[in-house]
């Protein structure tokens, strides 16, 4: 082919480039989706906890989406905190994801001084889950929940959750 026909080869090159780019983009989407959590993993994303047997002042740890969830039923010594408390019936509860907001270790509940303490990097949270010391950048996260009678359904965003998150 003569050198004058260069634009023909340029066209073939560009056409191939366009096909490869479209194919590559689809391939990337497919690869991204293969790494997404499986449907079975997503379906297991709900946990129901019955709060009625809990005693005032009691701390309880449950599991939701393989993460620890801290639940405390407040007693009369613990001040109500409208921006953090989950109200079920007439009782106030603290419900948080039990993972330090720094790097995701599990802080342990110290009942004597009513604090959550993370051994990894020394982060501390008070009983409301507010970060009071160390590297954690924000309070413990509140998991999405729905209130169903005396039961707490974790994994679904109920109206109480939306209200709480809006004020927090």
């Amino acid at each position: 082919m003569s050198i004058q026909k260069q634009e023909r080869r340029d066209f073939i090159g560009m056409a191939f480039g366009a096909v490869a780019a479209v194919g590559g983009a689809f391939a990337l989407v497919g690869m991204k989706k293969s790494w997404d959590p499986l449907p079975s993993v997503k379906a297991a994303g709900f946990t129901t906890v019955d709060l009625s047997p809990m005693q005032p002042g009691e701390f309880r740890q449950v599991e939701w989406r393989k993460k620890p969830i801290f639940i405390i039923k407040k007693d009369e010594n613990m001040k109500a905190n409208p921006s953090r408390d989950v109200v079920v019936g007439n009782e106030n509860y603290i419900v948080t994801i039990g993972l330090c907001t720094h790097l995701g270790c599990i802080p342990s509940w110290s009942a004597s001084d009513k604090m959550f303490k993370c051994a990894c990097h020394g982060g501390e949270f008070n009983s409301d889950g507010m970060n009071v010391f160390g590297p954690p950048p924000r309070p413990l996260d509140i998991p999405p929940f729905k209130i169903d009678g005396t039961k707490l359904v974790l994994g679904e965003e109920g109206p109480e959750y939306k209200k709480l998150v809006a004020t927090a």
Partner: protein
């Protein structure tokens, strides 16, 4: 096609078809190495040997390892360690080599810094080497989590959580990397894929690139002397081997390397046989437990300096959160040495002891890295936290401020 004649020997048969002699000369027989280098230049060959050991011992472990969250721990700690004949040996070779390879990588890299082998024509050698260091870090981390012990589980939890610090997409990104809401079976299987397949392939390719980058500028030497390799090679080929400043890679240089490799292997198998425990964290002999964090989490020794930079920033500065500064500083520390050719503004290629300011800087950097490593293992409370903070800041200042200043001064003084 080439004109093929009846072969006069086996070698000639191959020479006619795949130019074996030519290839050998390009790779070894006429690949020229300066005479004035010492044992510190043997680290590259030691690293190649260690990588080969890791590859072979890894293949043998792979035959019995089960990438399943319920089976992984026992497949390593029972099947491989107790049932498979010599399974313990492959595991200890693999674990000790994984640890020691970082020691040699650090020596290899700091020899490069000391002798200025990262600049003036040798930038690609340095960049491809630092790329190898980064991929090796990913390889080490993905392999560390496979035995599914407590420490490896929580290391995976914390390292994947680091991506949560990225604005807006952080949370979703962490779930995507893990394939679940927490580190669990899908995370294990994908890290298994990365560790035994994708990353080794990439490593082998980058090792090939790293070797190739040596071909044009050649290795540096003890004096930083600029050698005319073509001229010296001509001298050597004419028979004037005494006055020539170079020797061929094979047999000249490699025979010396084999000597150092042998010495190193004695040390290596001494570790494998008698001190394999240093590469095994006791906490990792507890099976992974997603409901309980070990009281004190720390990485393997070779990541301690980066880990200490991560947690060195323990208080907020203005609008910046401590955790974000730490994560940014660590991310930077991880890739920081890649940019050595940019920080060094002088084009003097000479060993550090002939560059006064640089010499002081070099040893300050080493001391700082040792302090970071030591304090990375200690609990980050009280006084320790402040040492961590100042040595983290020190690392960044040494690289980003001090090095450019002293090298610009050096350049001006040389004019």
């Amino acid at each position: 096609m080439a004109h093929i004649t009846k072969a006069t020997s086996v070698r000639d048969w191959f020479d006619q078809r795949i130019a074996l002699t030519k290839l050998w000369n390009v790779l070894a027989g006429q690949y020229w190495i300066p005479k004035n280098i010492n044992f510190l230049w043997a680290m590259g060959v030691i690293l190649t040997v260690l990588f080969t050991l890791l590859f072979i011992s890894g293949l043998l472990l792979l035959m019995y390892y089960k990438p399943d969250a319920n089976l992984a721990f026992d497949s390593v700690n029972y099947t491989i360690m107790k049932e498979v004949e010599y399974g313990w040996l492959w595991r200890h070779i693999h674990a000790v080599a994984a640890s020691v390879i970082f020691l040699i990588i650090y020596i290899h890299a700091f020899v490069g810094i000391y002798y200025g082998s990262y600049k003036k024509g040798r930038e690609m050698i340095w960049i491809s080497g630092m790329l190898l260091f980064l991929i090796f870090s990913a390889e080490a981390f993905s392999g560390y989590m496979l035995p599914w012990g407590q420490m490896s589980y929580w290391a995976a939890q914390v390292i994947t959580q680091l991506f949560g610090g990225i604005p807006f997409i952080g949370g979703a990104l962490v779930e995507w990397i893990r394939g679940d809401y927490a580190v669990s079976d899908p995370t294990l299987t994908r890290f298994f894929m990365l560790h035994v397949c994708l990353l080794p392939i990439v490593i082998i390719m980058v090792i090939g690139l790293h070797f190739y980058t040596l071909r044009v500028p050649h290795v540096n030497n003890l004096e930083g002397e600029e050698i005319d390799f073509e001229l010296e090679a001509e001298k050597y080929l004419k028979g004037d081997t005494i006055n020539s400043k170079v020797i061929p890679f094979w047999p000249g240089f490699l025979s010396k390397d084999f000597f150092y490799v042998s010495l190193f292997m004695i040390f290596f198998f001494y570790l494998v046989s008698f001190h394999f425990n240093f590469a095994m964290d006791p906490i990792n002999f507890d099976p992974a437990n997603a409901a309980k964090t070990p009281t004190h989490i720390y990485p393997e020794w070779y990541f301690l300096w980066q880990y200490e930079i991560l947690r060195g920033f323990f208080f907020d500065i203005g609008p910046l959160k401590a955790a974000d500064i730490g994560a940014l500083a660590m991310a930077f520390a991880g890739i920081s040495l890649l940019f050595m050719p940019l920080y060094d503004r002088s084009d003097v290629v000479a060993p550090a002891h002939k560059r006064k300011g640089f010499f002081v800087w070099f040893w300050l950097l080493i001391i700082d890295l040792i302090i970071l490593t030591v304090y990375g293992k200690l609990p980050p409370t009280g006084f320790n936290a402040w040492i961590g903070f100042f040595s983290s800041v020190g690392f960044l200042v040494l690289l980003l401020v001090v090095l450019p200043i002293i090298t610009i001064k050096e350049r001006k003084a040389n004019r």
